[in-house]
């Protein structure tokens, strides 16, 4: 009975993972397919990758997307970390309920809503202030930053809340001015969450379709927008090739990150074991060994 249940569980998980990975695998496999009819396998070929290299529309869109994503990641981390800092350090202030609501809402708000509203804001601003002139990189940058700041804010807030408050208090007691405390103590401690927020913002921006559709101008097309307009026309093996490249980069990143986390966990466990050993054998509180 117990065995049966375990097998049922494994079988269920296997099915879920098949559901998750079958589409991804099919993209990878068909990207190496020679046939123009995307679902008919003929033989192995790299011609879609070669075609990709000569496709200036896609290459331009790639460059736009990358520039936009880098700018978005940087601005989101700065603003998001600031918001996270406020959330973690000041619990109640004038308008705090509204503040928290404005941070949480973008996490779930359908993008069509935020896209339309930001576009209308920019149009009205252009009418009254003369800025921004038309739509393009700048408007998309602001839009993408709005998509990402909440994620960064929540990550940083979680990290700050878990942080030992006595560290900053000690620094302040010893006479460090607030900015020094922030740069010398707080910033190094939240650095991992900043990096996580940066990478997350980068991927959100690279992946975004709807916000870009509303806020892009006639000359700026991001990669997802270019891909969407081709997908509307039907299957296109070049999309498989670019999809495979994206999948390869993401897989490398995620695997490397997981490996790093696993190693760190093992190292911490080893330190803990050694500390315990030292304590029991020498009867005193041991210091953790150097890394």
């Amino acid at each position: 009975m117990k065995h049966l249940r375990r097998h049922l569980g494994s079988g269920f998980l296997a099915l879920v993972f098949l559901f998750f990975y079958l589409p991804i695998l099919s993209v990878v496999v068909y990207s190496f397919n020679e046939s123009v009819i995307a679902s008919q396998w003929t033989h192995f070929s790299l011609k879609w990758y070669a075609k990709l290299l000569g496709d200036s529309e896609i290459l331009d869109a790639c460059r736009t997307s990358l520039e936009l994503a880098l700018a978005t990641a940087c601005s989101s981390v700065v603003i998001g970390a600031w918001i996270g800092y406020v959330l973690a350090n000041y619990r109640r202030f004038w308008g705090s309920t509204l503040f928290v609501a404005m941070v949480n809402a973008p996490l779930v708000l359908p993008e069509v809503i935020s896209g339309i509203s930001l576009l209308l804001l920019f149009v009205s601003l252009e009418q009254t202030l003369g800025w921004p002139q038309g739509r393009g990189m700048a408007t998309m940058w602001i839009g993408h930053t709005m998509l990402c700041v909440s994620y960064v804010a929540i990550t940083v807030q979680a990290r700050l809340s878990a942080m030992d408050k006595s560290l900053t208090e000690a620094a302040r007691d010893l006479g460090a001015p607030p900015l020094r405390v922030f740069f010398d103590i707080t910033l190094p401690l939240i650095a991992p969450s900043l990096l996580a927020g940066w990478v997350l913002s980068l991927t959100i921006s690279l992946d975004d379709v709807i916000m870009s559709a509303f806020l892009s101008g006639p000359e700026t097309t991001t990669l997802p927008l270019a891909l969407l307009s081709r997908m509307r026309l039907g299957l296109n093996p070049e999309i498989n090739a670019i999809g495979t490249l994206i999948i390869a980069v993401v897989t490398l990143g995620v695997v490397a990150n997981s490996y790093y986390l696993m190693k760190r966990e093992q190292r911490q466990a080893r330190h803990l074991r050694m500390a315990v050993l030292n304590t029991s054998s020498e009867g005193r509180v041991a210091q953790s060994p150097p890394t």
Binding site: V27, Q40, I113, P178, L235
Partner: protein
């Protein structure tokens, strides 16, 4: 000492200038107000404007002319939404699709999260990575991949015909089936990840105690695990339900052209018919519909800050 030598206006300015805390809170607050709150007010404003052929394609609400300020509120857009069956059908179908997507995600996501949380720690990390990996991969490419699988000569149909289960290709996309496959596929990680985060933190001694006292596995599940995981469930459900109401890409690529979800209607109002006031009014109605679930999400999020 230095203060008293300052001229009075500087002292007054200093008193009214916010301190360090004021700046720390005020700047991001202002940013959010300008780029999150103000846009909504703009949408609200334009939803009461009249559609025109100008650039931008709507009228002003406040008109100053001949010594009088006129406020022109046009309710035409809202009337259209109430009277036109397309809008009612679109809102209804969006809410239905979002509801069933959430339901299917819960049905698949809950056991997945539970099984991962109960796995051996080494395997657990691997499985978790397996859930996160597609989540980081381009969402557009993953939805596109389903076209290759579900279309008439796609993988699924060829497999079915090869196995002799069907003689003719089945219509698997551009209908409700294709829509749900795409929706559940894309939103499942949003259910699994917060559920997992909740289940893995749950005190394992409670179900153990129940088991030791002779409770059957299903009794343990229904009387202990399920009630204790309700907050995780509500977080996951809201993370799936609210965004899927406004989904555009999946219905566009995998759904039928007949059943329009509100995201698609708004999109075509905006880009194809250039009816901005109408699209704005539709947005306002949508925000109003989502206000309750959003408030609920806000409560869940505050109670469990690390849910995401």
């Amino acid at each position: 000492m230095a203060r008293t030598t300052q001229p009075f206006y500087q002292r007054a300015l200093l008193r009214w200038m916010p301190g360090a805390k004021g700046w720390a809170i005020g700047l991001p607050f202002a940013f959010l107000l300008v780029f999150f709150m103000l846009p909504f007010l703009m949408v609200l404003k334009i939803s009461f404007a009249e559609s025109t052929m100008d650039v931008p394609p709507f009228t002003h609400l406040l008109v100053l002319g001949q010594d009088k300020l006129t406020v022109l509120l046009n309710f035409e857009s809202y009337l259209t939404i109430v009277q036109d069956d397309i809008y009612f059908a679109a809102y209804a179908s969006s809410l239905t699709v979002a509801f069933f997507t959430t339901f299917f995600c819960l049905l698949v996501g809950y056991p997945t999260a539970l099984l991962i949380a109960n796995a051996r720690p080494a395997l657990r990390n691997l499985l978790l990575m397996g859930i996160i990996l597609p989540f980081w991969t381009s969402y557009l490419v993953r939805v596109y991949a389903w076209i290759g699988i579900l279309k008439d000569q796609g993988l699924a149909n060829r497999l079915l015909m090869h196995l002799g289960l069907s003689d003719t290709p089945l219509a698997l996309m551009h209908n409700t089936f294709g829509l749900y496959v795409g929706m559940v596929y894309s939103y499942l990680p949003y259910m699994v990840l917060p559920m997992y985060a909740f289940l893995v933190k749950m005190d394992a001694s409670l179900p153990e105690a129940a088991r030791d006292l002779g409770a059957k596995p299903w009794e343990v599940f229904f009387t202990i695990t399920l009630p204790l995981s309700l907050p995780g469930m509500s977080a996951g459900c809201l993370l799936v339900f609210i965004p899927s109401v406004g989904e555009y890409v999946i219905p566009e690529l995998l759904g039928s052209s007949q059943d329009l979800m509100i995201g698609r209607v708004m999109w075509s109002d905006f880009f194809n018919s250039i009816a901005w006031p109408l699209a704005s009014a539709a947005t306002c109605v949508m925000v109003a519909l989502l206000l309750l679930p959003m408030a609920w999400f806000q409560r869940v999020q505050n109670r469990e800050p690390q849910a995401l």
